[in-house]
């Protein structure tokens, strides 16, 4: 990019300030079609959901602190694990990424806003209703869903506690919201790129969200289908998943995981995008192997459609099926490895500094890779027979989702907070957040590997005595990690209220159009598209 375009866009930003008309008070947020406002709404919503889901997790950990049933009944325990999972997946991680997409994509591709702003408003504002229904079911006679976030039939149909309908409608609304958000991302990226920004010139961040949006459009309707089948099985006498009526409960799992596996990449590909933005910035060196990163991301997305049954090795698949899904799953290690190697090569012989975004990104690379290792071990079918449905799996997916996705979200939040608020965040408080989180999260999740290998099944409210010691440490790690997240809240609130004034580009190694506009980013940016060479 030439300096000329930078100046031009700075001018635009300046001009925009004058005709920035927005409503005041609650109306601004209810009626907003501004991508920055909607991004902010998504991010705050995700954080509230993170704390809610985290609170549920802390009750779970309190119950598991020592053997015996102390605090909750087994049935309520199942409700906690179920709703914890649903909230974290659909309420915290996914909306947080959509928040990033809203805030950053238009600014990164030089667009004035998302392509479909009114739909954008709608796709956010139906979300609170979905979670009100889901959480509200705690206060109904039936209780909340208690069949696990994977809601396997027939536990969720014939044998459900009566919460299935609420659950299904909540998931439908979340799905509609995700599909609308995804359509918006695809349309925006395809149509609103600044002149000169070809696909292979887009920041990798944009690429990962582009691919993720396609995944969402492909699999969210599958989820909608499977929950609808669940609904009719439970209430309208169909037998999709009931052998007595000619159905098959294992078919439920096939359909669910055909959605579910791409879904886990929906939660990690944007993380790759964020980290691929931050590591070059603080290494003061261009991202190593940009085009191989694009191809690796696409390969992971394509492979994600043919590995779903690795979640189902114990359901009694034929040998051929087990071999096919084992080989395909192992293959995913190749493009994922390419990504990790590229990040390391980006840092190699760079000029590194360690501000909080970089710390979270480095922790991401290491801890996500540990989650990747356990993923590779889980891919080996014979070994999976031992690991499946134990705490080893719990450790695995929390390493990729918490120290993976969530850590990338924190990295991104610290990285762009100056752009969002116009102030620098408090670096030392942020470092406290990082170190407290890093230590406690490993105390929380690492011993779970041992628990799983020693034979502790997941989703149990009480356990045999040989699991007692590690569970105690895990619980302590859990409480500490939960409390550490309040430091983040403090950092953000302080940063919004004030702090050192942030320049347009606070990170000397950062690249991209978003740093060409003022901090805080004006309400409208790039009304005239910048030129990209």
């Amino acid at each position: 990019m030439t300096t000329e375009t930078i100046n031009e866009s700075l001018d635009d930003a300046h001009n925009d300030d004058h005709h920035d008309h927005k409503m005041t008070g609650i109306k601004r947020w209810l009626y907003t079609t501004n991508h920055k406002d909607i991004g902010t709404l998504y991010l705050w919503f995700a954080f509230i959901m993170l704390l809610t889901g985290g609170a549920l997790a802390m009750v779970i950990r309190a119950e598991l602190f020592q053997p015996g049933l102390q605090i909750v009944e087994p049935d309520f325990f199942n409700q906690l694990t179920t709703v914890h999972g649903l909230i974290m997946v659909f309420g915290a991680i996914m909306p947080a990424f959509t928040g990033f997409a809203n805030w950053m994509l238009p600014m990164m591709i030089g667009a004035p806003d998302m392509a479909l702003p009114r739909m954008n408003n709608w796709s956010f504002w139906i979300l609170p209703f979905a979670f009100a229904i889901l959480l509200g079911s705690f206060f109904m006679e039936s209780g909340a869903p208690n069949f696990g976030w994977t809601f396997y039939a027939p536990l969720s149909t014939t044998y459900s506690n009566g919460s299935t309908a609420f659950f299904v409608f909540a998931v439908h609304i979340m799905g509609i919201s995700s599909i609308m958000g995804a359509i918006n991302i695809v349309v925006t990226i395809m149509n609103l790129r600044a002149p000169g920004m070809t696909y292979m010139k887009m920041p990798l961040f944009v690429w990962t969200f582009f691919i993720t949006a396609y995944l969402l459009i492909a699999v969210m309707p599958v989820l909608a289908g499977v929950v609808t089948m669940l609904l009719t099985d439970t209430y309208f006498g169909t037998s999709f998943f009931d052998a007595a009526g000619g159905g098959d409960p294992v078919m439920f799992q096939h359909i669910f995981w055909f959605f579910g596996h791409p879904e886990v990449y929906i939660m990690i590909l944007p993380a790759f995008g964020i980290v691929s933005t931050i590591i070059p910035a603080f290494s003061r060196k261009k991202l190593f192997g940009y085009s191989s990163m694009v191809y690796a991301t696409s390969s992971i997305a394509l492979l994600s459609f043919i590995v779903w049954a690795h979640h189902m090795f114990t359901t009694g698949m034929p040998l051929f099926g087990e071999l096919f899904f084992m080989y395909c799953t192992m293959l995913i290690a190749v493009p994922t490895g390419v990504k990790v190697f590229n990040w390391v090569a980006t840092m190699w012989r760079g000029s590194l500094t360690f501000e909080t975004p970089m710390l979270f990104s480095i922790a991401f690379v290491i801890l996500f890779t540990i989650g990747g290792f356990s993923g590779l071990m889980l891919a080996l079918t014979p070994a999976d027979f031992q690991y499946h449905d134990t705490y080893f799996v719990v450790a695995h997916f929390h390493y990729v989702l918490v120290t993976g996705s969530l850590f990338s979200i924190y990295a991104g939040a610290y990285f762009w907070l100056p752009k969002w608020t116009g102030h620098m965040y408090n670096e030392s408080l942020a470092k406290w957040h990082f170190w407290c989180s890093l230590i406690s999260v490993n105390l929380l999740f690492f011993p779970m590997h041992f628990l799983g290998l020693a034979g502790m099944p997941r989703r149990i409210p009480d356990y045999a005595l040989q699991f007692a010691d590690f569970n105690k440490w895990v619980s302590i790690g859990g409480f500490a990690f939960g409390l550490s997240q309040l430091i983040f809240l403090a950092v953000v609130i302080k940063c919004i209220k004030g702090g050192k004034k942030a320049p347009a580009k606070p990170w000397d190694g950062a690249e991209g159009l978003e740093w060409t506009v003022a901090s805080p980013a004006p309400y409208h940016t790039f009304s005239t598209p910048p030129k990209v060479d």
Partner: protein, 389 residues
């Protein structure tokens, strides 16, 4: 420092000390079990192979990262190089992982083919999961029975909001003990046919490396060949509702001679039970005896859902206390529900599982306990008559 603070500090140190000196550390298992079958040892080897490979890759990758974090930092005056592409390197680090993966896939494939070969078994046992117990049925032997958690409720129910000193002392095999374990012979190929009566369960014994889902309406196969007699414990591994954590699996592996002796004993027991059933038909029990047997039976089989106090856990598990079925409703209907279960709900039929006498006692108990003072007395013959209607 004030006195209060000091107290707090002392308590914190005591707490930490207690955590570290925890008595059970010696028993804490860190790694996967090697198990007691050829297959489980193959699985263990595969697990260790993949663990070593991952560790090696980790050392190289993280080593490179830490190297640059230490030596390529700006504060040490590092200047950034400007390389950012190399097709050669990309091909290299695509090819090397593929080779490593093939090295892992080869043993994995051979172990898997072996695990899935269910031919030529010596003994076949049908395993049926139901909420929340296992049923074992020996083919060609006319032996079948249920296997239920035997840890007393007092040991795990200590819900009074406090963390210490409550509940009964927990036994050594807490939550991993059953009333009647599965018995199999050592050094024989034992084939399991696994299915379920209600939701999906999963039968898992780590020492055998056997974990197979029990799907309602379908039968899955698995097998084992154990070389060391002993007692092996496992748990249900698929969320199956409220008491998923309370349906353990215990397998006793006996030498062939001991196994044959056990079979003989079981045949005698089966004959005896049949005689007792017959005898109970003509016998008439007094209220005290019925209530006594009814209470123990109720606590073992019914209290998990309907609760010891009969209040249930509505709406999934309705109350029996003051409910029409156990008070104003007819005795025959009541027996029917207990005997055959109620389709489409968690209430399973106990006709196969309990003796006529036990069902008679439990119905009597439910109709007279917790203020349900109907005064009805139910005898084995009533149960027999009702079940044949």
């Amino acid at each position: 420092m004030s006195r209060g603070n000091q107290n707090w500090l002392v308590r914190a140190w005591l707490f930490l000390g207690a955590m570290l000196s925890s008595s059970a550390w010696a028993d804490t298992q860190l790694n996967l079990t090697k198990g007691v079958t050829a297959v489980s040892r193959e699985v263990y080897d595969l697990h260790m192979l993949s663990l070593y490979i991952c560790t090696a890759i980790g050392v190289v990758v993280f080593g490179a990262m830490f190297w640059s974090m230490i030596f390529h930092r700006k504060s040490k005056g590092a200047k950034a190089a400007d390389f950012h592409e190399s097709t050669k390197v990309e091909i290299l680090w695509t090819a090397i992982p593929i080779v490593i993966l093939i090295a892992m896939a080869v043993p994995a494939t051979s172990t898997l083919i072996n695990m899935e070969n269910n031919d030529n078994s010596d003994v076949t046992i049908q395993i049926t999961g139901s909420q929340w117990k296992w049923h074992y049925k020996y083919f060609d032997e006319n032996i079948e029975y249920y296997s239920v958690l035997s840890t007393p409720r007092e040991e795990y129910e200590n819900q009074n909001g406090s963390f210490d000193g409550n509940g009964a002392q927990k036994g050594e095999d807490y939550l991993l003990e059953v009333d009647k374990p599965l018995v199999i012979p050592a050094n024989k190929k034992v084939r399991f046919l696994i299915t379920s009566d209600d939701v999906i369960h999963s039968w898992w014994v780590p020492a055998f490396a056997v974990k197979q889902d029990a799907n309602p309406g379908f039968i899955n196969e698995a097998w084992t060949n154990v070389d060391l007699p002993g007692t092996y414990r496992g748990q249900c591994a698929e969320l199956c509702g409220k008491d998923h954590g309370f349906m353990p699996i215990v397998v006793e592996v006996k030498s062939v001679e001991d196994y044959d002796a056990w079979l003989k004993e079981q045949h005698e027991l089966t004959a005896k039970t049949a005689d007792a059933e017959k005898a109970s038909l003509s016998a008439s029990m007094g209220k005290d005896k019925l209530m006594q047997l009814g209470e123990t039976t109720y606590m073992a089989y019914c209290a998990a859902c309907h609760q010891p106090t009969g209040v249930g856990l509505p709406p999934a598990f309705p109350a029996l206390k003051a409910s029409p079925i156990a008070t104003t409703g007819s005795v025959v209907d009541h027996i029917n529900v207990v005997f055959n279960g109620r389709a489409g709900t968690g209430m399973q039929g106990y006709g196969k599982q309990l003796s006529l006498k036990q069902i008679a006692a439990v119905v009597t108990y439910e109709r007279n306990a917790w203020g349900n003072d109907t005064g009805d007395l139910v005898q084995s013959s009533d149960v027999k008559a009702a079940s044949e209607e």
